[in-house]
């Protein structure tokens, strides 16, 4: 007879606030096989674990059940704890009475009843558990970074400097992300390109870094230490191995379209590098707008002028398959499409209502106006400028509930830049609150006010045009009076939102995202750069809005996680894999086509039947290839193949226990 110990965690009030823990313990004490049942405030804590260890000794337990948070959270913790006891780490079941009980229910009686049921199911299952022993496998020491913004670049450089190979997959034609678009960075006002382009160049030239620009991740197979990734290299129409980046083709390309890098405020050619300092410094053809490829086919000037014949209109792109040991997601952010949700700000009809990122290009010396602040409509220098913060942020009615975190600081930066470049101008900043947590941030904000920026507390309810002026109407909530500001130009500091297609990527990677679409970290405080999937990490604004210092810190943090994984010669594998009972196997081979890893083969073995030696065909599982999905076990007619840790017996016991 099993001697089971049941331990129910309060998790402070997280569980105990809804579930009557004492009732659960009382009920568990009566389940068959239970030798001991108790509760504790925090079982995952050191004293909590000591309590369990002591109980194992005192009550001579041979398996345990823990009623606590999700097994995805602490199953590993408790297994580790069991390693220093006489109990095998797999003689453990976790009943999820927090994420799937106390956090999702409010009726205490019903929640307690459910917690008892979940515990009963776990107890029944653990009755049939058997000790399991892990194997070990190698780790592919090559990392994949998805997204080449400053987060991805930082992570890649740190991994590369530690001596490991790393690939950056960037969907645009150059790495750099948003940081290279910025003019200066708060609070020190150092030139953004001057600090980010050297890093881009370093990444491009580092012997351990492979840049895969203009690429996207198609599919991901495998698991921690052994991922196999299909990467789609989009058609560039230029052979980058031959191209020297001389630029002759770009200069001669006759077709111009709006430049995304310059936020639509000037044009670029169709044969293009997104910006002059692009890395890799070689152009691609924007096929959609190319006359030769998508038009009437008459052009081809680029191919004619290329001295190296690097242009190839037949390029179809390709799929590259690579093996990686770890993946970092660093896909960054985008800005909310404000035009659709703020018709009261003109919805895009007024040329002189621009966004913060457009302003960054406008003040930048290599931007469309070479750094002179000129308004888009008539090219005149605006004198009175209004800045509106929280456009889309902190607006549950029209935008997002969250704060975009960087805008308070960069709007102060914008005000400072305007007052510096237009000394006789004026800046009015409409704000809800001013949030400046960060080193040197409050001081920067103070300085901007001393520069003369006029802060008005309140949201703008309407912008309309009167002659040459844009009238911003709102309320000064400190004075309790309506205000109206006549501006020559208005800057909207818009909310950060996750990259488009992020849900496609989180799907491919099997990682979670929150209700707003930001990538979900494994734990908001203690595992901020890990995802729930082992071997996949995150860095930067793909996890939520943040500024550059925080983004870079996360990039380095994710790199350390990857390096610590790569520092292992061998990694332990899960013993939760399939096994065949040769006595039962009839050799029907139904399991073989079910296995996605081709881990099952048929072998011939010698068996003894009625005292005679006979040859039999039976299935055999390769323990290195098996990933433990159990599809074979679901198909086996004789119940010969079974999944360790989730055996037919274990699950049937669980089912029975629920239906009791």
């Amino acid at each position: 007879m099993a001697r089971i110990g049941v331990f129910i965690c309060h998790c402070g009030t997280n569980i105990a606030g809804v579930v009557d823990v004492d009732e659960v313990v009382k009920a568990a004490g009566k389940f068959p096989g239970v030798a001991y049942a108790t509760e504790y405030k925090y079982l995952c804590s050191e004293p909590g674990q000591q309590t369990i260890k002591a109980a194992i000794e005192e009550h001579n337990l041979d398996r345990i059940v823990i009623g606590s948070c999700s097994p995805r959270m602490h199953e590993v913790t408790f297994r580790k704890m069991l390693m220093s006891t006489k109990i095998n780490p797999y003689m453990l079941e976790v009943a999820n009475i927090r994420e799937q009980c106390s956090w999702v229910h409010t009726d205490k009686e019903k929640a307690t009843e459910k917690a008892i049921d979940l515990t009963r199911m776990a107890v029944a299952k653990v009755c049939k558990s058997k000790p399991l022993f892990p194997d070990s496998i190698g780790v592919t020491k090559r990392a994949l970074v998805i997204g080449g913004g400053i987060a991805g670049i930082q992570a890649a450089l740190d991994i590369a400097d530690a001596g490991y190979a790393v690939d950056i997959v960037e969907k645009e034609a150059s790495i750099g992300g948003h940081m290279v678009m910025l003019d200066k960075t708060f609070p020190t006002l150092d030139c953004s390109a001057c600090i980010s382009t050297p890093k881009m160049v370093e990444a491009g030239a580092h012997p351990n870094v492979t840049l895969r620009a203009y690429c996207e991740v198609e599919s991901v197979k495998g698991y921690v230490g052994n991922f196999e990734v299909d990467i789609r290299q989009k058609a560039k129409y230029v052979d980058h191995d031959t191209c020297t980046g001389c630029g002759a083709c770009e200069v001669k390309c006759p077709i111009k379209v709006s430049s995304a890098f310059n936020q639509g405020m000037c044009d670029r050619t169709v044969m293009y590098k997104p910006f002059p300092q692009a890395v890799p410094s070689k152009p691609v053809i924007d096929a959609l707008n190319c006359r030769k490829i998508s038009g009437d086919g008459k052009c081809g000037v680029c191919a004619a002028v290329c001295p190296l014949k690097a242009v190839n209109f037949e390029d179809k792109g390709e799929i590259i398959t690579e093996k990686y040991g770890a993946i970092i997601v660093a896909t960054g952010y985008e800005l909310i499409k404000w035009q659709d949700i703020y018709p009261e700000y003109g919805g895009g009809r007024f040329e002189d209502v621009i966004t913060g990122i457009q302003f960054e290009r406008l003040v930048n010396a290599s931007g469309p106006t070479e750094g002179h602040i000129r308004r888009p409509s008539d090219g005149a220098e605006p004198k009175d400028i209004a800045i509106i913060k929280c456009v889309g942020s902190r607006d549950i009615n029209k935008g997002k509930a969250y704060c975009s975190r960087a805008c308070c600081m960069y709007s102060a930066k914008h005000a400072h830049q305007i007052l510096e470049k237009i000394p006789d101008g004026s800046v009015h900043i409409f704000y809800m609150d001013v949030r400046t947590p960060g080193k040197g941030y409050e001081e920067f904000y103070d300085r901007t006010r001393e520069d003369g920026a006029n802060y008005i507390r309140g949201r703008v309810s309407k912008i309309f045009k009167e002659g040459n002026k844009l009238i911003c109407k709102g309320e000064d909530t400190l004075l309790g009076k309506p205000v109206s500001v006549e501006a020559d130009m208005v800057i909207l500091e818009t909310a950060m939102v996750p990259a488009t297609d992020i849900s496609k990527l989180t799907g491919i990677l099997s990682i979670g995202s929150d209700t707003d679409g930001w990538v979900q970290e494994a734990h908001p405080k203690l595992r901020p750069v890990e995802t729930q999937t082992a071997g996949i990490f995150l860095a930067g604004t793909c996890q939520g809005p943040k500024d550059i210092p925080d983004t870079v810190a996360q990039g380095s943090a994710a790199a350390v996680k990857v390096c610590s994984l790569f520092s292992k010669v061998q990694m332990e594998t899960s013993p939760i894999i399939s096994a065949v009972d040769r006595e039962k196997c009839s050799g029907c081979e139904m399991c073989i086509p079910c296995c996605p890893y081709k881990a099952i083969t048929v072998i011939e073995i010698d068996m003894h039947e009625h005292g005679k030696k006979v040859k039999m065909n039976v299935s055999d599982v390769n323990s290195g290839l098996c990933q433990g999905c159990g599809a074979c076990a679901g198909a086996c007619r004789s119940g010969a193949i079974d999944l360790k840790g989730y055996t037919n017996d274990q699950i049937l016991m669980e089912v029975d226990a629920l239906c009791l």
Partner: protein
């Protein structure tokens, strides 16, 4: 067949959830403090394809009122193809149940990803309502004549 539903009767619903998608989605629903009915109990399996049709039959035999099998979206299976097997197996399963006189709506298969906490909540809520409407399962139940 008329069934006397006792007052305050709550169905027992068993949900097999794959570890990588739906179970994660269910955990996320918890993290986001979403609310859904208490009558669904989750059994964690590595993949929806692990669910042997025998488990489902056993659940109905033992008096379960509804069974839900949930996995990753077709094409997104953590184990590449597992949920395709699930889909094929359980299309047949529904037919078998129907043949045996069990309302096939008592058994449902759904695809819920790790990020779809709201879909988990909505699915569980809907299935729970549907099973409630169907009333207690007495068809297969062992000892139903006693």
């Amino acid at each position: 067949m008329s069934v006397n539903i006792k007052e305050g009767w709550e169905p027992k619903i068993l949900a097999f959830c794959c570890n990588w998608c739906t179970y994660t989605g269910a955990d996320l629903a918890g993290l986001n403090r979403m609310k859904y009915p208490e009558n669904v109990r989750v059994a964690r399996v590595p993949c929806s394809s692990r669910v042997n049709p025998q488990f489902v039959i056993r659940a109905f035999q033992k008096g379960c009122d509804g069974v839900l099998v949930c996995g990753c979206h077709p094409g997104d299976c953590h184990y590449v193809t597992g949920n395709y097997f699930t889909r094929r197996r359980f299309m047949l399963m529904k037919k078998l149940l129907e043949y045996n006189g069990i309302d096939p709506n008592r058994f449902q298969a759904r695809w819920i990803s790790g990020s779809e906490a709201a879909k988990f909540r909505d699915t569980v809520t809907r299935v729970s309502e549907q099973i409630k409407e169907l009333g207690p399962n007495v068809k297969f139940r062992e000892g139903r004549w006693s």
